[in-house]
């Protein structure tokens, strides 16, 4: 049963990802990317990472994509202002992307992946367990990432501010 869910979610995410890069209108790209993020959140739920799924929906679909959507609307981008590369360059781009995919798939086909034996910890992806790990082993990186965040926010405000002169 769950492999059908996996296949459905994978198909959805791959199709949405393809639509993102092939859509003519940037607004459609944003909307397809939101759909793709939701399907990836579904994958997280399948993987028993419930906290990650919720954070993914809040951060990506809630914050980042709203930022993208606002920027696309502020800049008034649509399919008429969209510039296109020559058809030969497009063909080369698709070909090189496909070649990269082939090489990676071929190398992963023979890869031996380590899977833990024994019963899986069903509570691993919940807030309690992840919070314990985050605030015990990774408390310094956590605090440093908050500094990174505040630097990014200040930088964004300064960059986007109109110069007064």
């Amino acid at each position: 049963m769950s492999q059908y869910v996996f296949l459905f979610l994978s198909l959805l995410s791959v199709l949405c990802a393809l639509s993102v890069i092939f859509a003519k209108n940037p607004i459609h790209s944003v909307l397809f990317l939101i759909l793709c993020f939701f399907s990836i959140a579904g994958h997280y739920v399948l993987l028993n990472a419930q906290f990650l799924a919720i954070v993914h929906i809040i951060v990506y679909s809630g914050a980042i994509m709203v930022l993208f959507l606002f920027t696309v609307m502020l800049l008034n981008l649509n399919s008429t202002t969209e510039a296109h590369k020559p058809i030969a360059v497009k063909f080369a781009a698709v070909l090189s992307g496909g070649a990269l995919m082939l090489v990676l798939l071929a190398s992963f086909k023979t890869a031996e992946v380590h899977v833990a034996t024994g019963a899986a910890d069903m509570k691993m992806g919940l807030v309690k367990n992840l919070g314990q790990v985050l605030f015990k082993e990774f408390v310094l990186p956590f605090e440093i990432s908050s500094i990174l965040f505040i630097a990014a926010m200040v930088g964004a405000v300064i960059l986007a501010k109109k110069e007064l002169n």
Partner: protein, 109 residues
Amino acid sequence: MEAVSETMRTVPLNWYLYLSTVLFSIGVAGVLLRRNAIVIFMSIELMLNSVNLLLAAFSAYSNNPTGQVFVFFIMVVAAAEVAVGLAILVMIYRNSKTTDINSLNNLKW
């Protein structure tokens, strides 16, 4: 909860490897294919997400929560990157009235 343990029995870890590879390659192709800087940003997000998915899959299959904490940090970095990147894009648009990367060649030697 029972359905969750069923996932790990019925879906091999290699399938997640393949799915992440496909998503990452689509992101790479998007960066090469498009000229609009915002769509290129979205393709980069796609690549980051494929890596996140693979990290979460490895974390779940090897029964180790560290991978999920890593995904958390990658999300933080991605959010910071998008905030700064979109601010730069807005500034570029204000100065040159376009987000076409072909016209942004001032730093080209």
